[in-house]
Amino acid sequence: MNSYKQQRVRDPLHDLVEFRANEFEDALWQVIQSRPFQRLRRVKQLGFSELVYPGATHTRFIHSIGVFHTARELMAHIESELTSQFKERRAQTALAAALVHDVGHGPFSHSFETVGKRLKLPNLKHEAISAKIIRDSELSDSLALLGGGFPSDVADLIAVDGPTDVYSSVVSSQFDADRLDYMRRDKLMTGTQHSEIDFTWLMANLRVGKVKQAVDEDLVGEVETLVLDSKAHFAAETYVLGLFQLYPTVYFHKATRSAEKIFTELLVRLFHVVGNSGIPKTGLNSNHPLIKFIKKPDDLDLFLDLDDTVIWGALSQMVSCKDKILSKLAKRLRDRDLWKSADLRDYVRKQSETSFDTAATDRIVIRAQDEINEWSETNSNEVPRIIIDAANRPPYKVTEASSGPLNQIFIKEGETLRNLRDTSEVVRAASVFKLNRAYFDDSDTVAKKKITDAIRSAIQEEEK
């Protein structure tokens, strides 16, 4: 009789998640006990979204366990399809990868990476940090219970470019476990009532199919990945549109993005002050985890000391610090006194009697952004007076740089696989969601006026 013990976790999304009493799942349970994984209890899945959706306080810890649970369900489907061809070890590698895929996220995840980009610190990218943690930390010791090369196999599977076989498609594809968990969990925890998907029907109609993989015009070959039976065609449409709708409503929410902008400026300022021998001006002592990390941003151990709570906990100290800019930014974040936003596309609609088509609106917005940026660079001191935020989200990507099994959904009709783009008029017709905003301090009436003036002058330019 083995000495492994079953472990159980209750989850608001999946209800009961069990870790079975066997060598593999026992090792994963040990992974969960490690410091890098426990840290995920203090990194929220949606960062600042809780400032808009107060219920969205779920963490990357429970999300990661949910991804493992979903991956195990997907893998059971794959096993039943492949029968004797099923590769147990490869499946275990993918399941472990599903569990640990998020361990490299910093506090407030993507905003933290933006700071790295602004300051040219490439090592703040979560993919690079995850790889380090998986290969060389206390967490890897637990993974190594499954074999000395197992941590490397897991890291390699996460680093691979898109799905290379059906096992890796569980970790990275249009139907990967990450997406299937986060879109349902984010919907549940934010409380939003749209973006409902028919998960049960999607899972019941999952199949393994061979899909062509190409680079530009040149065919690479075929790769096995997850596809859907034609009976799930409408469920696939709902899935694509449901995920798409989460972007304007949750992920791209104006208040969330405002908090992210403030956070980015706050950390950039903190790096700047610390870099100029200004630790006493920050309100934090030299042993504070943030200060220690800023002095040695490549140190993995110092990175692991950072989480959302460290940031929230430091805000009050920074509010009363000597550096006025840092103090103001910290106060804004602490008290949810966010920068206001102007929706530039909405401004275009309101400022002109002409109804511009999409391309003309795009040109107006780009010209206005250009003018606003130039004005802000000339008229700001340490923190930009106006910050432009531009992003977009296509409902479904069609061209080759993003095609192949990573971003496409294939519907199995008899023995033929058809791209959802070709089978669904709804998906084909959905247009890209474009976000173009300008953030500013509401009391800065000059900045506010500049935004309106820039839109007006861009409209005039378009109408010439």
Partner: protein, 172 residues
């Protein structure tokens, strides 16, 4: 009129297509060509990060969109014989640009290269600058489905690295 802040990046993009005789096939080819120019000090300052299929610049992808909006470039979709779609970029026939020999050499080689080999060569070069001791092996690890093209990619990189450029090619 094209906005000031993006006019230079559009001009730089258009110059790549123009040097390629006014037509370049494929998003991957365009991205990897621009990366190789950036790597060797012949680019326009675009930031590149590793994304899915190797070095990728969101700023370049945005510039392609801007260039189309302001009429500097066209991107058409064509269907490949195997069923998928790929992009073809064209500039007007009267676009003539002056570029130095290094830039011209890289663009001309990239235009004629197999896109898979080009992707592998650019990826290995990127990984070399990212600190990987054996970037070809790491490239193979990340792209197991393309390993059979690795020798072609190495041969292509050898040809590329014979081109004189301001910033030395990584020795890989």
């Amino acid at each position: 009129m094209t906005p000031r802040s993006i006019s230079k990046s559009i001009d730089d993009l258009v110059s790549i297509i123009a040097v390629a005789d006014g037509e370049m096939i494929g998003r991957t080819r365009l991205q990897k060509t621009a990366y190789l120019l950036e790597l060797t000090g012949l680019g326009s300052g675009l930031p590149f990060a590793y994304k899915h299929y190797g070095p990728f610049s969101q700023e370049l992808a945005d510039t392609v969109e801007f260039a189309q909006l302001f009429g500097n470039l066209e991107e058409a979709q064509r269907q490949a014989s195997w069923g998928g779609f790929y992009s073809v970029y064209t500039t007007g026939p009267d676009v003539v640009v002056e570029v130095d020999d290094g830039k011209r050499g890289i663009i001309e080689l990239a235009k004629e290269a197999n896109p898979i080999s080009l992707e592998l060569a650019a990826t290995a070069a990127f990984l070399a600058t990212d600190g990987f001791e054996d970037p070809w092996q790491e490239t193979a690890n990340r792209k197991p489905d393309k390993v059979s093209r690795l020798d072609d990619a190495k041969a292509l990189y050898k040809k590329l690295s014979a081109i004189a450029v301001p910033n030395a090619w990584p020795v890989i």
